[in-house]
């Protein structure tokens, strides 16, 4: 063959190879990373089991062999004695064996942390108190399988002022007890074998447990915010190798893995961690197995490959265990997936999703969280948030848009004007369970953008400013001028406690930013004298607040006349009585100052979900939201969410329950009586106390207080940061040199005017 022809062939072959390489690389670009919507090969199918024992403690259960061990406490009414027992729940047949504990000596024993050994014995850290509970001693005790105390090793000097956090037993029966940044080592007979002191680089030990290799490991928080896993060298009295990338979101237990070294979970998903590669692999999402990950108290891998999880539900009291079996997805009936997009993915949304999934045959809710705290390194939270929001925005504009969006943390108005949300007015009209009239009008108004109802939040809270009625007047509402005049009239007192310049600017701008902006024309008035007065007023406050120097509580300062106003967050009917107590009966709920003197009572709603207009399962999404809004509350627990319900019916029930006088009863419902033969009323529940001794115990609210709270709800409105806090950010950023005395108020006002005008011009 001629050389030129050979060269030509070689060139063609090379070109073909390069072309193929380019084509293959383009093909790889098609991968999508949508987590929950991807078809999974395996699913973990749950089998729920209830333990028939009312005394069971789900919080300290431990898997030992093929049984779940826990402590229980029984109270004998006749003898007035309480008994502690070691309980064993056999997984095979559900039988429970109880073995009462017997102590060698009669002392005031208080079993604190326990660990169960393979042979049925139990080790525990016990505190022994003297009669008046002023002194305590700490012992490491062992009880045999019959509940008899074998030994009580005094570790009072070891522990000193520390707390004991956890106790664990390794494969050789050796005992490890942790407290703060220390690990105390004992052999199987309770003899002290040393202490591993982790030093000042460690904040505290988060968890301890045995790995798949039988060695003991700890997971601790470093002083730099990092999470580190390391093994414990018992014989060397020191820590061994350290391992990176261990999940910081792990709960308080270290659990041996099934195929890899550890099982970990972060409240949403379960992972397996491999010590060799120091990486975690996701196994499944709790939600896909109809479990609320926030309710998982403990979980373990069984020898047969299943996973056992202990779950509790405070709302419904549905406690028990779930046995999860790995199954091929193709063998399990498939449902249509409805995806909820959430920045934070909290327990409420998981709980609602689990309930829906269990009761619905057609749809299955999945949650996609945009802020993965396992990836957060502790630096620059703003960048971490921005990254999550950007990914959410990308999904919204692409074909990866969730069906439902959790609105917490989102700029609702911005998204609503882009047509992201479905108008719920139509759904409300067609609903057989809900109507507009069921909800507070101002709450619905707060979530209506351009006539479209984008969401119906489940709960809300309020915030207002409280002052002394004899000084600020009893009518609600005042102007900024009046506030400044009030401060000027009391030059020796602070207007608010704990307020810095930036914080007071936020308070003053809460309802007044829009006063300086004409959104229709784009004109701004931040170079006006009124705004300059606000800047000058904010400049009176400190740059930073020294929390370390805090020695007198705010209520005390108010009562002494050192502080004039109190910023009150109202999330239940008890809060108003505390304000009355602080102002000694002369509380006036005057509100945040406004330019026009109208009442500034702030409303902030939560648990608000919106259906996206791009959703392909709008009916299913509405079914979820409707079910969530109409969920039944546990009458024994009260309102399940933080704040007040937005549904009038639930709110009225909560108001009626708040003023109802309840009396103490026994387990048979019989009233207890005091020495005068009167039934003993229950208090309001809880109280508040400060380090300087000021305290308050809540009583049952009066009808007047409840009516006042209800009247505040009618006038409460969301803040006027209608476009997010960009306006406030610009103001605070530019005001800083004025606060430092580097620039005049005119210069600063002029720059603020220029920048905000650009912002308004862009967004009007």
């Amino acid at each position: 063959m001629k050389p030129t022809k050979k060269r030509t062939i070689r060139r063609r072959l090379l070109a073909m190879a390069l072309a193929a390489a380019t084509a293959f690389s383009l093909a790889a670009c098609g991968n999508s990373s949508g987590g929950e919507t991807e078809k999974k090969e395996w699913v973990w199918v749950p089998e729920f089991v209830t333990i028939e024992d009312e005394t069971v403690s789900y919080y300290d259960m431990q898997l030992v062999g093929d049984a779940l061990c826990y402590q229980s406490y029984d109270y004998d009414e006749e003898t007035g004695e309480s008994t502690q027992s070691i309980c064993k729940y056999a997984l095979a047949d559900g039988s429970i064996t109880k073995t009462p504990l017997s102590y060698a000596e009669e002392k005031n024993w208080n079993l604190n942390r326990v660990a169960f050994a393979q042979d049925g014995s139990m080790y525990g850290v016990t505190n022994v108190y003297n009669e008046d509970y002023t002194k305590s001693e700490t012992f490491l005790c062992k009880f045999d399988a019959d509940g008899k105390q074998i030994f009580a090793e005094d570790m009072t000097d070891l522990v000193a002022d520390s707390y004991t956090d956890s106790i664990a037993i390794d494969g050789d029966g050796r005992v490890y007890v942790t407290g703060e940044a220390n690990i105390w080592l004992f052999d199987a007979d309770g003899n002290k074998r040393g202490t591993v002191a982790l030093g000042s680089d460690v904040n505290w030990i988060r968890s301890m447990g045995r790995g798949k290799d039988g060695k003991m490991y700890i997971c601790y928080y470093g002083s730099n915010g990092s999470t580190t896993l390391c093994d414990i060298d018992f014989d060397g009295n020191k820590t061994g190798n350290t391992y990176e990338n261990f999940l910081s979101g792990n709960n308080n237990k270290l659990v041996a893995g099934i195929e890899k070294d550890f099982l970990t979970q972060d409240g949403s998903r379960v992972y397996e961690y491999d010590l060799k590669s120091q990486t975690s692999t996701e196994l499944f999402s709790w939600l896909d197995s109809d479990i609320n990950g926030s309710n998982v108290q403990g979980f373990w891998g069984l020898e047969d490959g299943r996973i056992l999880a202990v779950t509790t539900d405070y709302e419904t009291d549905e406690n028990g265990i779930a046995l999860l079996t790995k199954t091929k997805a193709s063998e399990v009936p498939q449902k249509e997936t409805i995806l909820i997009g959430s920045l934070y993915g909290d327990s409420n949304i998981q709980s609602a999703a689990v309930k829906f999934n269990k009761s619905n045959d057609k749809y299955h809710i999945s949650i996609r969280e945009y802020l993965n705290y396992n990836d957060y390194d502790g630096d620059d939270y703003q960048a971490f948030m921005t990254d999550g929001i950007n990914r959410l925005n990308n999904d919204i504009t692409s074909n990866n848009c969730p069906d439902i969006l959790d609105l917490s943390g989102l700029n609702i108005k911005q998204l609503a004007t882009k047509g992201v949300f479905e108008d719920l007015n139509g759904y409300l009209e067609k609903s057989g369970k809900l109507s507009r009239e069921d909800f507070l009008a101002n709450v619905l108004e707060a979530y209506t953008v351009d006539g479209k109802l984008v969401s119906i939040p489940y709960s809300f809270q309020m915030s207002t400013v409280v002052g002394k009625g004899s000084e600020v007047g009893t009518e609600m509402g005042w102007t900024l001028e009046e506030l400044i005049a009030y401060a000027d009239a009391h030059p020796d007192a602070l207007l608010f406690d704990n307020k810095t310049k930036d914080a007071i600017m936020m308070t003053l701008m809460a309802y007044n930013a829009d006063y300086f902006i004409d959104w229709s024309t784009g004109e701004c008035r931040f170079d006006s004298e009124e705004f300059k007065d606000i800047l000058n007023f904010a400049n009176r406050f400190p740059e930073e607040y020294d929390w370390e120097k805090e020695d007198v509580s705010t209520p005390n300062k108010i009562q002494k006349g050192q502080v004039l106003l109190y910023e009150e967050n109202i999330y239940d009917f008890n809060e108003l009585q505390m304000c009355n107590e602080i102002f000694q009966g002369d509380a006036s709920y005057i509100g945040y100052p406004t330019m026009d003197g109208s009442v500034g009572c702030m409303l902030s709603a939560s648990q608000a979900y919106a259906i996206t207009s791009k959703s392909g399962h709008k009916d299913g999404a509405w079914e979820f939201i409707e079910g969530f809004l109409t969920k039944e509350e546990n009458p024994d627990r009260g309102f399940s969410s933080f704040g007040f319900p937005t549904m009038k019916g639930k709110l009225n029930a909560m108001a009626a329950d708040a003023v109802e006088v309840k009396y103490y009863t026994d387990e048979n419902g019989e009233l207890y009586y005091d020495e005068n033969g009167e039934p003993i009323p229950m208090g309001g529940g809880g109280g508040i106390s400060y380090g300087d001794g000021w305290s308050y115990e809540y009583r049952i609210p009066t009808q007047e207080e409840v009516d006042l709270a209800l009247s505040l709800m009618e006038i409460a409105k969301p803040v006027s940061y209608s476009q997010g806090d960009e306006v406030l950010n610009i103001i605070n950023e530019e005001a800083a040199p004025f606060y430092k005395g580097q620039k005049s108020v005119d210069e600063v006002a002029s720059v603020i005017q220029s920048r905000i005008k650009i912002y308004v011009g862009e967004n009007k």
Binding site: A15, M16, A19, T22, A23, L26, C29, N393, I396, T397, N411, Q414, L415, K418, G419, V420, G522, S613, K614, E726, I730, E734, P737, Q742, K743, E747, V751, S754, R755, I756, K757, I758, Y759, G761, E762, N763
Partner: protein, 312 residues
């Protein structure tokens, strides 16, 4: 009659020519197909990463928002023309480019001419002017903050000389600061291009001009400029493109909403992207690209006119 014999096929000449033609056509088709196959990956890449995104931008500019996608024709264009922020951004961008780009071209040409002369420490000067190109953006911002911050070095000097402090970046002087930043960053690169172009001017023509008693300015304008025309065009276009890239430094100095004197089109588009306002962003981008096409077209025509007699 003599019959021409054909050794191989025995076919007459006409048939052989036709066959030869068919063979040729098939061969051409084969070449075209195989060429197309080899070009296809690159073409697909250009399609996927340049042409299709551009079509998507056009689509976004004609709908009300990226979610609902309702066709609104030219409403977005009408709306941004009336947007005060957009108009301000266009004004600032135009002013910046109108001042900075000619300055970048003229000053770098002058520098090239100066450095072309046999001066001492010529290569050191060249390195000095080139070094800003290698400085990372974040470092540039740091340097500029040290210099032009309200409490920076320039104000310290001003105060020492008895003047008042100036908030350089948050006042009307902001544009001056940005122009200086742009020139500082880009003069070196342009200068190198001009130096290379100057070195490639035929020496014999310059010698002839000298012999013909041409003055240096005449030599410069009638000979050198003509030979530099394509480089001038290239430098002008590159400077224009780089003038848009100054957004990076401005953004790091001032964030999303700067003082209005340095609020540029890129700020407008960046903010619109962040707020999911893709339709306005796309409309602004199309308007900007149309203006760019006109400007570059004018530059090409000018180059064509002034440089055609020196092109080969």
């Amino acid at each position: 009659m003599r019959v021409k014999r054909f050794k191989k096929s025995g076919k007459p000449p006409e048939a052989s020519a036709k066959g030869h033609q068919n063979k040729s056509t098939r061969r051409m088709r084969k070449i075209k197909i195989s060429s197309g196959a080899y070009i296809a990956p690159s073409f697909l890449g250009v399609l996927a990463f340049f042409i299709l995104p551009f079509l998507v931008v056009i689509y976004y500019s004609l709908v009300d928002n990226p979610i609902s996608g309702n066709f609104v024709f030219l409403d977005n264009f009408t709306s941004i023309m009336g947007n005060t922020a957009f108009r301000r951004a266009v004004h600032n961008t135009f002013m910046f480019s109108a001042v900075a780009v000619p300055l970048a071209v003229v000053l770098s040409l002058l520098l090239a001419i100066v450095l072309e002369a046999k001066l001492p420490f010529r290569s050191q000067f060249r390195t000095f002017f080139l070094s800003p190109m290698m400085v990372p953006v974040a470092s540039i911002v740091l340097i500029w903050q040290v210099l032009f911050h309200y409490n920076g070095a320039v104000n310290e000097v001003l105060v020492a000389l008895g003047g008042d402090k100036i908030d350089w970046v948050k006042s009307d002087y902001g544009l001056v600061v940005i122009i200086i930043l742009f020139l500082w960053k880009n003069l070196g690169y342009n200068m190198i291009l001009f130096m290379a172009a100057l070195a490639s001017i035929p020496k014999d023509i310059l010698e002839v001009a000298e012999l013909e008693s041409a003055r240096p300015l005449q030599t410069f304008f009638y000979i050198k400029i003509r030979y530099l025309s394509s480089t001038l065009l290239f430098v002008a276009i590159m400077s224009l493109i780089n003038s848009f890239k100054i957004f990076r430094e401005v953004y790091l100095l001032t964030t999303d909403y700067p003082y209005d004197s340095i609020y540029t089109l890129q700020h407008f588009m960046n903010n619109k992207f962040k707020s999911l306002d893709y339709q306005t962003l796309s409309a602004a981008a199309i308007l900007m690209s149309l203006v760019m096409i006109v400007i570059i077209g004018v530059l090409f025509i000018a180059e064509n006119r002034f440089g055609k007699d020196v092109e080969g």
